[in-house]
Structure formats: structure tokens, C-alpha cells
């Protein structure tokens, strides 16, 4: 019984974060839920949104583009396709990226390329929404 939550954020390619934290708020598909140490076991899908990690009074926001959360007595594991630390996101650059992606969608000649550009746009919009929610 510890009063810290063991938290791991894992993407298909590598482990992005691993460590003990106080509290994590997860954007589940059925609504946000907080995970404290000794939470009951849950498996939940995640919608694209910000993961809020609280540790030692500091809050870190990490954008996850979907995935799922697995809570066990051993701790919380988030399996995410794609994760970005919102502290690293530059709002101006994001705007520019969204504009570029919009243009790509418009200019794409093949369906495959358009679908890729659209997916990129949806992702960037979701990051923007998560970024605005902070303020």
C-alpha cells in the first residue's frame, strides 16, 4: 500500500513515461475519470484529449490521440497510439500546421493522400482543443 500511483504511458513504439505520481485524470470515452492510488480495476477506452498528471502539486498535461487505460492494483497503464506533452506545443506553430494540413486536404489529388491529410488535420484540431481547454 503506497500513497503514490505507479503510472506508465506506452506507445506502440516505446515507453514514453514511467514513474510514480499522485493523481491522473484520464479522458475516457464515457467521461473523464480520476485515478488515485488503489483505484478499483478498470479498463476504459480513451477519446483524444488531455491526460492530466498531478505530481507534487505540479500538473502536467499530455495530449493522447485515443487509446485505452488499464487500471490494476499495480498501477495505471495508458496505451496510446500517439502522445504529445502539451507544454511542448507552441500555439502559433500549431495554427500554422493546421493551416498547412487544411491546404493539404484541399490540394490532395489521390484519395489515400487526402485521407492521410484529413487524419493529420483531425489530430491537430484535437490538440488545439486540448490546448484551449487549459486556459
Amino acid at each position: 500500500m503506497t500513497d503514490k500511483l505507479s503510472f506508465a504511458l506506452v506507445s506502440p513504439e516505446r515507453e514514453l513515461f514511467h514513474g510514480d505520481v499522485d493523481h491522473v485524470v484520464v479522458p475516457g470515452t464515457e467521461g473523464e475519470f480520476g485515478v488515485l492510488p488503489n483505484h478499483a480495476p478498470v479498463i476504459s477506452l480513451i477519446r483524444p484529449g488531455a491526460l492530466r498528471v498531478f505530481n507534487e502539486g505540479a500538473e502536467r498535461r499530455i495530449f493522447v490521440n485515443g487509446g485505452f487505460a488499464d487500471v490494476t492494483p499495480a498501477g495505471l497503464t495508458i496505451l496510446a497510439e500517439d502522445a504529445v506533452d502539451l507544454a511542448d506545443v507552441d500555439a502559433a506553430k500549431l495554427e500554422q500546421d493546421i493551416k498547412d494540413a487544411n491546404e493539404d486536404v484541399r490540394d490532395a489529388k489521390e484519395d489515400a493522400r487526402r485521407a492521410a491529410a484529413e487524419a493529420r488535420l483531425v489530430r491537430l484540431e484535437a490538440i488545439k482543443a486540448a490546448l484551449i481547454a487549459r486556459h
Partner: protein, 292 residues
């Protein structure tokens, strides 16, 4: 007998070949290290998702289970996903995988099944095309991806699932080369669809509590199974890349050593020839002087 000049040219040519194989060996060694690290880094995700699937698969059984898990109820049409490398100069690496594929095809055909082949990587396609051109339905080209990431694996996974949903096959098996060690890569077959929970996956100890599912089990399984299949493909592809570089490193090491032996042999021959020429000239001079 080759002239001195011929020998000199040959030695120079073997030497430059040796330089190339030596460089390739060093490049392969460096890339092997990186791809091994990539394969290692991808392991936590695969393990966790495998554990969750094992858990869920036990909870969701029978009619309610997603198609990817319970299968079509038949096993008449088999899809073999054969992953090989894009490039050669790697010894028997690709041949091993192709041999396993051939054996599988022969066994399945003997059992009266229909076989379809999807190839990943140019080398496997070229080797299989000679014999099984009519069965090959698709090819995935990964040469554009210099480093293996999740994106191409997801592309392959999406392709396979689309074929499955279109009723193109009943069972999908993934053939790749398992990276056992730098000197041993063992070709392996793994069933992708219907998805099987990994044997020996660590189920988390819940301490008597029961999992809650949000939304319900079936929805989660629906969302997770494609990711699980993608992660299996990614793992296979990463092992393939690591195995490829290991095989290339070994092959190039052998080639370098071989070139060294050849150079030694040719140099010896060259020196003998040179001395023979000197001796011959001396004899000519001496016998000429004696005749006077």
C-alpha cells in the same frame, strides 16, 4: 599462367570489394544495434495489450465476440502474410522465410485448403512469384520506410482487416523471422486472425477485485483487437529488421574474410611469379655471359 599485370589487377579488384563488404558489415552492425533497441522498446506495449486481450477474451466468448476473435467459423481460405526484407546481401535470411512459406503452402494445399499470399518486402515476393504467382493477391512495399515505425504496421493491419471483412479469407497467418540472437534467426508462423490470446501473457493480479469495463467488454474488444493485431505485426516487422541486419552483418563478415583469404592466395602467387621471372632473367644473363 596469368601474367604479373593480370595478378596485380585482380588483387586490386578483390581489395576494393573487401573494402565495400567491410563497410557494409559495419553499417549493418550499427543498424542492428538500433533496430534491436527499437524491438526492445516496442515490447512493453505488446505485452500490456496482450495481457488485456487475454483477460477480455476469457470474459467475452461465443456469439457476442467480435468477428476478429471468434473467426468466420470456417477455415477454408488461408491468407499467408509473408514478411521478408526489401534488400538482399543477407545470406539465407529471406530464403529461410520463403522455405517456411513453401512448406506451409504445400501442407495447406494437401489438406484441400485455398491459399492466398500477401507479401511484405520485395525479396519474398520475387522468390514466391516464380512458383505461386496465381495465389499472390497483394504486396506491401516498405522500402519507403527507412526506420520501422508503427505507421506501416498499422497500414498492413488495416489492409488485412479490410480483406477479412470482405470475406477474402478465414484464417490469417503471419510469417516472419524471429530474432533469437545475432547468429540465429528462426522463421516463425503466427496466427493473426482469428486472434489468439498470447500464451503465457501475464494477467494482472487483481487481488480478488473484478475489472470494470468502460464502455462494455465487447466495445473495448472491438477497439483493441485491431490494435493488438497491429502490435503483433509491428513486433514481427521489427524482429525482421533486426534479423535482416544481423544476417547481413554475418554475411558481410564472411565475405570480408573470404576476400582476405583470396588476397593472401593471390599475393603469394604474384610473388612466386615475380621471383620466377627474376630467376629466369638471371639465367638468361648468366648463360649469355658464359657463351662469350
Amino acid at each position: 599462367m596469368a601474367s604479373l599485370k593480370d595478378l596485380r589487377v585482380r588483387i586490386a579488384s578483390v581489395k576494393s570489394t573487401q573494402k565495400i563488404t567491410k563497410a557494409m558489415q559495419m553499417v549493418a552492425a550499427a543498424k542492428l544495434k538500433r533496430s534491436q533497441e527499437a524491438a526492445e522498446a516496442a515490447r512493453p506495449y505488446a505485452e500490456r495489450i496482450g495481457g488485456v486481450i487475454a483477460n477480455l477474451a476469457a470474459a467475452v466468448q461465443g456469439e457476442g465476440a467480435p468477428l476478429l476473435l471468434r473467426g468466420t467459423g470456417k477455415e477454408d481460405v488461408h491468407l499467408l502474410v509473408v514478411a521478408t526484407s526489401e534488400r538482399g546481401l543477407c545470406g539465407g535470411f529471406n530464403t529461410q522465410i520463403v522455405r517456411l512459406a513453401r512448406e506451409r503452402i504445400a501442407a495447406l494445399q494437401a489438406a484441400g485448403k485455398t491459399v492466398k499470399i500477401l507479401t511484405i518486402g520485395k525479396k519474398g515476393r520475387d522468390q514466391l512469384r516464380r512458383q505461386f504467382a496465381s495465389m499472390m493477391i497483394e504486396h506491401v512495399d516498405l522500402s519507403a520506410h527507412r526506420v520501422m515505425t508503427a505507421a506501416p504496421a498499422q497500414g498492413v493491419g488495416a489492409r488485412i482487416r479490410a480483406l477479412y471483412e470482405a470475406g477474402e479469407f478465414d484464417v490469417a497467418t503471419f510469417l516472419y523471422s524471429k530474432f533469437k540472437s545475432v547468429i540465429a534467426q528462426v522463421p516463425e508462423a503466427q496466427q493473426l486472425i482469428p486472434a489468439t490470446a498470447p500464451a503465457g501473457a501475464a494477467r494482472p493480479d487483481l487481488g480478488g477485485a473484478v475489472y470494470e469495463y468502460e464502455p462494455d467488454e465487447t466495445d473495448i474488444l472491438d477497439a483493441l483487437l485491431p490494435r493488438y493485431i497491429d502490435s503483433q505485426i509491428l513486433r514481427g516487422l521489427l524482429e525482421n529488421v533486426a534479423g535482416f541486419y544481423a544476417a547481413q552483418m554475418t554475411a558481410m563478415d564472411n565475405a570480408t574474410r573470404n576476400a582476405g583469404d583470396l588476397i593472401k592466395k593471390l599475393t603469394l602467387q604474384y610473388n612466386r611469379q615475380r621471383q620466377a621471372n627474376i630467376t629466369k632473367e638471371l639465367i638468361e644473363i648468366i648463360s649469355g655471359a658464359e657463351a662469350l
